[in-house]
């Protein structure tokens, strides 16, 4: 198997206006920086983006928002992005806010061939509106449906040409479940390695879930909330 493509632009081949994309990452951690930059260059519009967050004004999905490429966001938390809030309150941007755990599980379900599942999350709230409710063990649950995407854009630490991936630290987050749920999954990695270099026993995303892979460059890895503690005195 050889799923390697030359660069981010080649990786995005086939993405057109009005498609649904999943984009990995939590905040700015583990986002596919190269693929997002290429999407801006590609200029496709009317996108529906499924991503836990919407980036910040000048990075991550915020770049696509600034560029008016996104028609609809499906997210759990979008609090770090003023442009997002402006477009949403102004009615320019459709927004579907869903509980983070339901978002993660709906992506996994989409990749796992499970069209719907019951969860207690959101029962009794506006999230439950129009959804089936059923009691299990005396507790009400709502029926949530699977999510899939035309393309999933994800970011990993290392990968091989079979599409096998490993992630680093909490940059893993939504990337593995979105890899499963993309009809075409595009993985960008910090480092491409030879098959066999990744121990089969410790692969996070098996290659079967990945259709294209490339080595990204110039990772900025911006930190949203740099928080440190004081060095202890040596006494």
């Amino acid at each position: 198997m050889n799923k390697i493509v030359a660069d981010s632009m080649e990786a995005l081949a086939g993405i057109t206006n009005d498609m649904t994309l999943m984009v990995g990452g939590f905040g700015l951690c583990g986002i596919p920086e190269n693929a997002i930059a290429a999407l801006v260059k590609l200029g496709v519009t009317g996108l529906t983006c499924i991503s836990n967050n919407a980036g910040v004004d000048d990075f991550g999905l915020g770049l696509l928002l600034q560029n008016k490429q996104i028609k609809k966001m499906i997210s759990s938390y979008v609090g770090e992005n003023a442009e997002f809030e402006r477009q949403m309150l102004g009615g320019e941007l459709e927004v579907d806010l869903i509980p983070q755990g339901s978002l993660a599980e709906r992506c996994r379900a989409g990749g796992a061939g499970i069209p719907a599942f019951y969860t207690p999350a959101g029962y009794g709230t506006e999230v439950a509106e129009g959804k089936e409710v059923k009691d299990f063990n005396g507790k009400p649950h709502i029926l949530e449906s699977a999510l899939t995407a035309d393309y999933a854009l994800i970011k990993a630490w290392k990968g091989d040409r079979h599409g096998n991936l490993i992630y680093k630290g909490t940059a893993r987050n939504f990337n593995p479940v979105m890899a499963m749920a993309g009809k075409i999954t595009i993985a960008e990695v910090e480092e491409l390695v030879e098959p066999g270099e990744l121990d089969p026993n410790f692969i996070h995303t098996p290659g079967i879930f990945v259709q294209r892979i490339f080595e990204g460059s110039h990772y900025e890895k911006r930190i949203e909330q740099r928080t440190v503690r004081q060095q202890q005195s040596l006494s």
């Binding site: 939590f26 759990s76 927004v95 869903i98 993660a104 630290g169 909490t170 928080t227």
Partner: protein
Amino acid sequence: MLDRNGIAQRIAQELQEGWYVNLGIGIPTLIANYIPDGLNVEFQSENGILGMGPFPFEDEEDADLINAGKQTITALAGASIFDSATSFAMIRGQHINLTVLGAMEVSDTGDIANWKIPGKMVKGMGGAMDLVASADNIIVAMSHTNRKGASKLLKQCSLPLTGVKCVKKIVTNMAVLDVTPEGFKLIERAPGVTVEDIKAATEGRLIVDGDIPEMRIA
């Protein structure tokens, strides 16, 4: 009256040996600073880490290691990292022993609202709806009244709900209260706060049963 740290310190007394704990953004995060010596608890952050340690020293920040508040963190020996679906499997599957989170409003039946002010604040619920719907044991950490002095402990929430009938305990700057079928049951007063003060600041049904002790904060 307690300050934010005081609220965190009081909640820290609720922790028990061997517990896995999820701390929300804001006051709950401060609880990690007040773990009693020798008590083994592990902190989960829903973006995908268990065994979260303190903030890193300067110049040791790792962009690939953050908590759900997007703050740089460290991982302790014995930590583990996982994806978002596994993280919420822990939460939804009730493997977390205690969830502490902030709120804008709580009702005397245990409803909570903390994610949306219609037409105004639209940040999203993040993991809060999963957490409150799933946890057996939820403590809300918040100020007793809002900036205008209005009670946040209500008969009924006015804001869009995050979850229904889920809050079990509330620790505010004024009091510790249990949520019971009969309403908010006053358990402790903050130092210098009278039962009358608490009555005046509580809109929902309040049960005051016998003498109400003052909190002990070491």
